[in-house]
């Protein structure tokens, strides 16, 4: 089926004497699905995302990615020598690249910073520009590599709202890599836990949107994921 992300038996091993980072991993992401991938550091989640983004080769196994796919990284990674709109239009050709970049920036609420230098943006603004850069190519697969980890708590909550708003309008298949369990439960429809290079938990998240973090179902999911990640909470 076109538009589906299919990963089969993906294995990556950096050194022969060390366990593989990804171990015969299988993963399907349906079009329009919002998936969160949780894992402790070293679990291989970054390697998986890099493979899906085409940054790392997939020497063993098959990887089928719907095109175009775009990435939002942990850091904004804007080119400081290009204005904000030029950053969003990077790699885009055609006469309409500027109006399309401007439209994407308007969508993320940066209409007033079109011609600004990235060096003058706040952390949240820069990450929103990076989001606009990912959205402007209307991706079939949107890869989010801990994109909110470097933001302060309030900005992060606003970014959560923005990303859900954008996702429900454009409906790209989305893979959010994160180590923040709350974030995963608040955003995704499906929750995955990656351990030792394999997916060890694959849970649907039936919570209705908009999500209430105080809802008991929310807490239950959170508990389940934390347990799977090996974090045992004491009852309050």
């Amino acid at each position: 089926m076109t538009g589906t992300t299919r990963v089969r038996q993906l294995t990556r091993q950096f050194a022969a004497d060390r366990p593989p980072v990804l171990d015969r991993l299988d993963l399907d992401i349906a079009p329009g699905e919002f998936v969160a991938l949780l894992g402790a550091s070293g679990s291989g989640k970054t390697t998986l995302l890099r493979t899906l983004a085409g940054l790392d080769p997939a020497p063993a196994g098959t990887v089928e990615i719907p095109q175009p796919a775009s990435v939002v990284f942990q850091q904004p990674l804007l080119l400081p020598w290009k204005s904000v709109w030029q950053n969003v239009a990077l790699g885009q050709h055609g006469a309409d690249s500027r109006p399309r970049a401007e439209a994407a920036l308007r969508e993320v609420g940066l209409a007033h910073r079109l011609d600004a230098w990235p060096g003058t943006l706040s952390g949240g603004e820069a990450q929103r520009a990076a989001l606009a850069r990912a959205l402007v190519r209307e991706p079939a697969l949107l890869l989010l590599d801990e994109p909110f980890a470097a933001l302060d708590a309030l900005t992060r909550l606003r970014m959560h709202e923005l990303i859900i708003d954008l996702w429900s309008r454009h409906r790209p298949a989305t893979l959010l890599v994160t180590h923040d369990v709350d974030e995963a439960v608040a955003l995704a429809d499906r929750l995955l836990v990656l351990e030792h290079g394999r997916i060890t938990l694959d849970l649907p998240n039936p919570q209705p949107r908009p999500r209430d973090r105080a809802h008991p179902g929310f807490a239950a999911l959170r508990e389940r994921l934390l347990n799977q990640l090996g974090v045992h909470q004491h009852a309050a």
């Binding site: 983004a53 085409g54 940054l55 175009p68 775009s70 990435v71 990284f73 850091q75 990674l77 080119l79 400081p80 020598w81 290009k82 990077l90 790699g91 230098w117 990235p118 060096g119 003058t120 850069r133 190519r137």
Partner: protein, 275 residues
Amino acid sequence: MSHSLATAPALAPRVRRRSVPFTWAVPFRRVVSPLVLLLVWQAVSSAGLLSPRTLASPLQIVAAGWDLALSGDLALNVAVSLARVAAGLVIGVTIGGALAILAGLSRVGEDIIDAPMQMLRTLPFLALVPLFILWLGIGETPKIALVALGAAFPIYLNLFSGIRGVDPKLVEMGRTFGLDRAGLIRHVILPGALPAALTGLRFSLGVAWLSLVVAEQINAHSGIGYMINDARDFLRTDIIMVGLVLYALLGLAVDTIVRVFERRLLAWRPSLVRA
């Protein structure tokens, strides 16, 4: 507050200087001590304590400069010197820049180019003057070649390290957004190396002037260096001083031009954006 300004180090960010309200007191004080030195120099000369054969007085230097300007010698010699520096710089910066790009962008290029460049750069290039005379004679060629050789190294070293210093994450980002190798070089690597390249260019300019001074001692028939050598034969310290002042002013002028370029090309730098 103004006291701390006057003693602020030269590298203090411009931003801070600008935020202080402007008063004439600071520039005035900075001008006072050079002026006093000039007055003392003039007084010592006028009193006959300093022979013009040793050092001409400031007024004599100004008069000599005026005479040279009126006769047209000044403009001619400055033009000849400028032309030598310009030709040498264009050749040297082009070669140094091209080698840096080749070495910076490919491992093979680095292996072939960088080792000999690093070896050559440890050689004081002015020591090559005798060889240059043997190879190229005593006309314009060895002079321009010397300027070119001197100017090639700073731009090479700075641009090479600038290219290698570009954040690999930015390159990776460019790749995921569909830039091919040419696109990466054009949009990511070269703009990222530009600040270092401009620093290299300024060093190249400095070395170019230095090379010119040495090169113009080689049997020159025109140029500021010729003017100085000629004046030496007639014990005209006033003309020698005019030549030295010209070297200083021209160096300063060229450096200012590069600074203006820097401000325009690097307008995106946060320190400049805020200023």
